[in-house]
């Protein structure tokens, strides 16, 4: 049983690390601000979620695990909202979205 829990936790954490890595590569490689937000907005949400779930599984059924779940729920609501807020500020500020064929910014 202990092995299964450890394996689940390891799988979740590795998945989180993988999505963090792809989000970072996307943030570095995508051509403009809005496409970069795609990378961080989605990638970081799932990555944080997976990492926190991994920690919670490792922790077992305890108060700390519940707190980790609370953080996960918070991030789940807050991350898309923050992404939306920045993108909205960008478009109101007058940033032009990149279209196919342009130079990357």
């Amino acid at each position: 049983m202990g092995y299964i829990i450890a394996a689940l936790s390891v799988v979740c954490l590795l998945g989180g690390l993988f999505f963090f890595a792809t989000a970072t590569i996307g943030l570095l490689r995508f051509p403009d601000f809005f496409t970069r937000l795609h990378a961080t907005g989605k990638g970081d949400t799932l990555a944080v979620f997976l990492c926190l779930i991994g920690f919670a599984i490792h922790e077992g059924l305890s108060l700390t695990a519940m707190k980790i779940v609370v953080i996960a729920v918070f991030m789940f609501l807050a991350q898309p909202t923050a992404t939306h807020a920045i993108s909205r500020a960008g478009i109101r500020h007058g940033l032009k979205p990149w279209v196919k064929g342009e130079e990357r910014q």
């Binding site: 690390l17 890595a21 990492c51 922790e59 980790i68 953080i71 909202t81 109101r92 500020h93």
Partner: protein, 86 residues
């Protein structure tokens, strides 16, 4: 298990350094804010890893929660400010 957590933490630190490229060179303030928000989410996990290293997860979880909170509020505030300053 702790060694594995430390490895995850080190990987995240590496990723933070990669994101710092966007923070420093990213054209315009918006790219920088997006990158800083990404650094914040990674720091949240690194804090939890530190908690496991020092064996005080119950303490570091509170710090982590505050970090998530302030990251969110800072992001919203920066967005609001840049929106006002058209």
């Amino acid at each position: 298990m702790n060694e594995f957590f430390v490895a995850v933490g080190l990987g995240l630190c590496l990723l933070v350094f990669l994101v710092l490229y966007r923070v420093i060179f990213g054209p315009g303030v918006f790219n920088r804010i997006a990158a800083i928000s990404a650094v914040g989410t990674k720091t949240l996990i690194i804090l939890l890893v530190l908690g496991y290293v020092y064996n005080r997860v119950d303490m570091f979880i509170d710090i982590s929660m505050v970090y998530a909170l302030l990251n969110f509020i800072g992001c919203i505030a920066a967005a609001k400010y840049l929106e006002m300053e058209r």
